[in-house]
């Protein structure tokens, strides 16, 4: 990314996405608070702050569950891809709701005392040696710190400064945060009266997230097992005519990263499959206006040299291609990112 940064690259879809997100959160809070108020006997309603603590905790946990489901869902069905596009706004919203929850807890349960509220957060329940009695607040604090790190580094500036690998690794911390939050709920709210609802929410959510990841993982593993046949360094990508125009097939070499083999009319190109932005699968993208477009966030690369069009500076590796007996062959050795290679022409289409 070499063009100037903006706070948010707003467009119509992002506005609609954020609108749905904010409406969902508002409806969730209203329904939670309203139902909590109305279901209690008259005069026995919970205090407003404690209701808000419950609602914000449930909202943050549910939102994080949705966020974690979107990735594998998009692997399983392309229909979910638009939901991945603006996922970082969900992440920042999740952090802000979790911060509201944490702030109210610190104020309400740990404030109004001579002891420092933050010290109280770690020491008021001293049963660190117990499983069932473990101070679940500490788990929430750890999760909130991870969510903060992710929210604070969600801007594309950080992807450039830290590098895509480091950035991705940092953001994989969301799974640690989620694990901590499941334990936070199970060892906290789930142990109170009517804790079955909290336990069910955490349990079903954790199963859903795990199940979707396992299903998506199995699909990816099956793709990896079907490694392309190799002869003298050339990988068989199948018949040229079977590659849809403007799209790609994804090759899995016996070793190394996947390769996306694109056809644009009579021309065949091969580039590394992983987008430099967030590792999105370029081979599931399209060629639009002469550029490969990543299905996750729309990052573009020229198919002939793997470079993003100016002023952008991302580059992916390119691969040599040739056609033998109507089949596309791709050499397994990657050329340095940005290396221009002439496309291979499909004879039948050319003639």
């Amino acid at each position: 990314m070499a063009a100037g940064y903006s706070l948010v690259g707003w467009n119509g879809f992002k506005r609609a996405y954020d609108g749905v997100m904010l409406a969902g959160l508002a409806v969730f809070f209203a329904a939670h608070l309203g139902a909590g108020w109305m279901s209690a006997p008259a005069g026995q309603q919970p205090s407003e702050i404690q209701m808000l603590i419950r609602a914000s905790g449930a909202a943050a946990f549910s939102l994080l569950t949705i966020i974690l489901c979107l990735g594998p869902l998009a692997r399983l069905t392309p229909r979910a891809l638009p939901l991945v596009y603006n996922r970082r706004h969900l992440g920042v919203a999740c952090f802000l709701v979790a911060l509201l929850h944490g702030g109210l807890v610190v104020l309400w349960y740990h404030g109004f005392s001579e002891m420092n509220a933050f010290v109280s957060l770690l020491v008021s329940n001293p049963r660190y040696d117990s499983f069932g009695g473990f101070p679940f607040e500490s788990l929430g604090v750890a999760a909130l710190l991870i969510l903060f790190l992710m929210a604070a580094t969600s801007h594309d500036f950080w992807n450039t400064v830290l590098g895509p690998r480091f950035w991705k690794g940092l953001h994989m911390g969301v799974y640690a945060a989620y694990g901590l939050l499941v334990a936070h709920v199970m060892l906290g709210a789930a142990q109170g009266e009517a804790g079955f609802a909290a336990a069910a929410l955490a349990g079903v959510s954790a199963l859903l997230v795990s199940g979707l990841h396992i299903a998506a993982g199995q699909r990816e593993a099956a793709r990896d097992r079907a490694a392309a046949a190799e002869a003298e360094g050339w990988l068989d990508a199948g018949p040229a005519q079977e590659i849809p125009d403007g799209r790609a097939v994804i090759l899995t070499p016996p070793e190394g990263e996947r390769i996306a083999v694109f056809r644009e009319g009579a021309k065949i190109y091969a580039v590394a499959n992983a987008c430099r932005h967030q590792g999105g699968p370029l081979g599931e993208g399209r060629i639009l206006d002469g550029c490969i477009v990543c299905p996750w966030h729309g990052y573009q690369y020229r198919p002939e040299d793997g470079c993003s069009p100016p002023p952008f500076t991302e580059k992916v590796a390119t691969f040599r291609t040739r056609i033998r007996e109507g089949r596309v062959l791709v050499h397994r050795l990657a050329q340095p990112p940005g290396t221009e290679l002439a496309p291979t022409l499909i004879p039948e289409v050319v003639s």
């Binding site: 990314m1 070499a2 063009a3 100037g4 940064y5 903006s6 706070l7 002891m115 420092n116 933050f118 010290v119 957060l121 770690l122 020491v123 001293p126 660190y128 903060f148 790190l149 604070a152 580094t153 801007h155 500036f157 950080w158 450039t160 400064v161 830290l162 590098g163 895509p164 690998r165 480091f166 430099r276 993003s308 500076t313 991302e314 580059k315 990112p337």
Partner: protein, 73 residues
């Protein structure tokens, strides 16, 4: 966990963030040119400040020319 251990944890965290805020402010005012060739408007500088305060050791390493340049296209 004793109160003194908890105090030490929070004090350490406050110290880390305090150093990070100073380092972050310095970076947004004088150091961004060494991190990216792109133009970074003031509003974006404010947005990235919390991250700079949290990840200041990594940012300082990048400013010093260390880190993972292979990742940077």
């Amino acid at each position: 966990m004793s109160a003194s251990v908890a105090e030490a944890i929070w004090l350490g965290l406050a110290l880390y963030v305090g150093i990070g805020l100073v380092a972050g402010l310095g970076t947004v005012m004088f150091g961004l040119g060494r991190l990216t060739a792109a133009d970074v408007p003031v509003r974006v500088r404010l947005l990235i400040l919390p991250g700079l305060a949290a990840l200041w050791p990594f940012v300082l390493a990048r400013l010093a020319g260390l880190g993972a340049p292979e990742d940077r296209a």
